[in-house]
């Protein structure tokens, strides 16, 4: 923390000598059917990290988009260094020194780093001078601790490296205020540490950072100030040192939240799922991979899950998690190896027979794979049933109504299409079908990233449901890229890196760092 930012922090909201670098005043933005922002006030000082914290749909991304020029506010104004500015586009935002790094990167995969960085610049010479550009890109990236090879092709970079390209691009174009939208969503823990170092380097150079996030844990470390939003309104603002996770969670959700770890209590029982020596190579897969030089999608996977146990699989997305889930659930055949569900070998039987053997599967992509988005809740409950020639919707309707009351699913009714549900409620429907259906006798559950994109409140209820299923004696394989989630729920943790299990650990806090390093491919 440097001195200048301390000074500006004290003076915010007073029209003192140093006006805020960027501020929003009484901003209101409406979309059809929702008020995304209502009379929101927000400001960031020079050299400050100001975090916008809130659940999905709280309006924080809308506010960031207004501040960067992507949206125009219906009412209210945006001020840059105390003067009102009218930002008509992201480009006009950039001309005022404001840049936003989106959660989903906006880079051209086939261009090099340098080419991406200069993309959109005005005043480039007709014939590009690659050497000059590369030199300048290197200069910017070194100054802020963003190591990058300007000649690397963006399509071959990792998520963390691509993010660096976006940040370098913003800085190259003269950004003084950076808005980072969910910047840690795609990063492994060591990459997050690196990002935070960059953010500190930028603020000590007098730049301002607006950090948009819904992850409680990480923002406390990095932020000078945290402003919490809920339902389009600011619910509170907390300074560095005054922030603690449970207070912030309360501001986000509007009620108290349990964040404590949950562990299996009973002694684990029989082995219900076992995977041994499973190999899956690229030839068999239909999905094209970004890493053609990698021989196997999965190599030599061995694991066992017992009744009443949650086995966590940690790893950064794209290291074979989805493939492992598809192999176990019978959607894809491994080249080698065996999968046994409740004592029955299932390789080669296909998805339906594997399900009948006692396996339930909650895929990562809940709307679009686990649920048919345009079909009703009732029809989605029918999906995994034995339906016969004529479909019996009556019993499914009764079951849907039971689930809606029991799991507190917020919906106009059981005939509502699942795409109209919020992420958390859709996930409840999916979990209900896979875990609690009376027609379903499954004893093994594979669940992939069950809380991705969900609100804190919904995360809590999904975790409670999984915990309940564990207590009922199910064997659960939890595959998630959210390390916090794995460490909160799992009794044991395996780390999947480039298709191999590289570490086995107990799910306790002391192992957190070791697991995080293994996820990034750093051997312990």
């Amino acid at each position: 923390m440097n001195a200048s930012s301390e000074a500006t922090q004290g003076s915010y909201r007073e029209n003192g000598a140093a006006p805020s670098a960027l501020s929003a005043q009484n901003v209101t933005k409406r979309f059809p059917g929702v008020i995304a922002n209502l009379l929101v006030n927000f400001d960031v000082a020079r050299g400050e990290v100001h975090t916008l914290l809130g659940e999905n749909g709280a309006g924080k991304s809308t506010l960031a988009s207004i501040l960067s020029g992507l949206y125009r506010p219906d009412e209210g104004s945006v001020l840059r260094n105390g003067k009102e500015v009218r930002l008509s586009s992201p480009r006009s935002g950039l001309s005022h020194g404001i840049a936003m790094v989106h959660q989903h990167f906006r880079l051209v995969d086939r261009f090099t780093v340098a080419e991406n960085v200069v993309l959109g610049s005005k005043g480039l010479s007709f014939v590009l001078q690659p050497k000059d550009i590369e030199a300048k890109v290197s200069e910017v990236s070194e100054k802020f601790g963003l190591p990058l090879d300007p000649r690397a092709v963006v399509g071959e970079l990792s998520a963390g490296q691509r993010q660096r390209v976006e940040i370098v691009k913003a800085l190259y174009h003269g950004a003084e205020v950076l808005l980072l939208d969910e910047p840690t969503a795609l990063l492994a823990p060591p990459e997050v540490v690196k990002l935070f170092e960059t953010v500190r380097a930028m603020t000590s150079a007098g730049k301002s950072v607006v950090f948009v996030s819904h992850k409680l844990g990480e923002v406390v470390d990095i932020s000078d100030r945290i402003t919490v939003m809920r339902d389009g309104k600011v619910t509170g603002s907390v300074k560095r040192g005054e922030a603690n996770a449970s207070r912030l969670a309360e501001l986000m959700v509007g009620r108290e939240i349990t964040l404590a770890p949950r562990r299996g209590t009973s002694n684990s029982g029989d082995v219900l799922l076992s995977v041994s020596q499973v190999h899956l190579s690229h030839d068999q897969s239909q999905n094209q991979s970004n890493q053609p030089n990698q021989p196997n999608i999965l190599s030599d996977i061995n694991l066992r899950v017992r009744s009443g146990e949650i086995l966590g699989i940690a790893g950064v997305s794209g290291n074979g998690q989805r493939d492992l889930a598809e192999v176990i659930s019978g959607l894809r055949q491994p080249n080698q190896g065996a999968v046994t569900v409740c004592g029955l070998p299932t390789v080669g039987l296909g998805a339906r027979a594997t399900r009948q053997a006692g396996l339930a599967y909650v895929p990562e992509d809940r709307l679009g794979t686990g649920l048919a988005p345009s079909l009703s809740i009732v029809d989605n409950l029918l999906l995994t049933r034995d339906r016969g020639f004529l479909v019996d919707r009556k019993s499914a309707l009764i079951e849907a109504q039971e689930f809606i009351t029991k799991l507190e699913i917020k919906t106009p009714g059981p005939l509502t299409p699942t795409r109209k549900l919020s992420g958390g409620n859709a996930q409840k429907v999916l979990l209900a079908r896979e875990l609690f259906s009376t027609e379903d006798l499954s004893r093994v559950l594979i669940v992939c990233s069950p809380t991705r994109g969900l609100d804190v409140g919904a995360v809590e209820s999904v975790h409670a449901l999984l915990d309940q299923a564990r207590k009922n004696g199910k064997a659960i394989l939890l595959i998630s890229e959210d390390l916090d989630e794995v460490m909160t729920l799992a009794d044991r943790v395996l780390v999947l890196y480039r298709g191999s299990i590289v570490l086995e650990a107990k799910g306790v806090a002391e192992d957190f760092e070791r697991v995080g390093r293994a996820m990034a491919g750093i051997s312990a």
Partner: protein, 370 residues
Amino acid sequence: MIIGKARIQLEARLTAPRWLVVVVPVFSVLFALVVGGVFLLITGHPPIRTYRDLLDNGYTSFYGITDTLGLATPLICTGLAAAFAFRMNLYNIGQEGQLYLGMVGGAWAGIALAPHLNQFIAVPVVLVTGALFGAVWVLVPALLRARMGTSEIVSTLLLNYVALNLINYFIYGSRGFFRDPSTPFPQGRPISESARFDSFGTTNTYPTLIISIILAVFLFWFVRRSNYGYETSVFADSPQTARYAGMNSIWLTSSVLLFSGALAGLGGAMYVVGPAGKVDPGLLQTGLGYAGIVVAALARYNFVAVIITAVLFAGLRVGGSALQASSDPVPIAIAVVLQGAVLLFALGGEIFRRNRVVITRVAQNVKVSV
């Protein structure tokens, strides 16, 4: 769009009120008539009287409505064929060719098999054979689509031209099985009388109309209640979900296309059983296959609504042709313009069902919703 001080924008509706489903199409047809009226005025025909004649010839007179129902009979089949495939996002636009092949198959059965059968069996045999021929005509596109993902749009469309030339060859190009040997005039060989339906009285409506209507109602029920209908709905909505649930996508894709082809083929066989009684190149002029796509789109792939839109469309066709023969002949082109206008406005009206018009005053940011 900005007019004066007002900015007019479209905003997506979150929920569409039920009355819009009726009001939007009705207004679409009215607007189409107004546009058609302008054309009539330009060409020197009094719009009101022309419309009254059209209504009379197409719908309200006894022979008008029975002609219309006769034409609607195969059109319901091609409409069902299009709706059945389209609702699964399978764009079979080969109803035209499948219809011709249904006619060929029906005529073959009517000539080769029917003389050995009594009427209760002969007519169903002709209809089923026509349906089978229609299905066979879509077999290759169906397998290519299901196994290799080849676009069924291109393959089914191109086969229409093959079918067209095939019919021309059978009647004009060769002296083969389907050509009537008893006359030098090129025409189809008549099928056995036992395989033909009599029309109702002196009208041009045949009992096949009842079969078409029963089929539409059956499909409406079948798709909602059967497991097959359920699986196709899941697959149409999200192929990934269907795969996740262990459904057989190759079977679903190919069977839907084959059923669709069979429905169009059935339409062709109905033409044989009813008015034609032979392979009749006159069917090539009607464009009933392509019209089926229009009928299905207007019905928004609802099988029961297909009955209504098919009758509506057939009436425009029948009434339009009758205008040519009236005392003040209106060119057939005008009738086609009217059909086109109805279609464009009906499909364009969808915008108003999905969105609402919002007028904002630019100066004061006051919203007035309509």
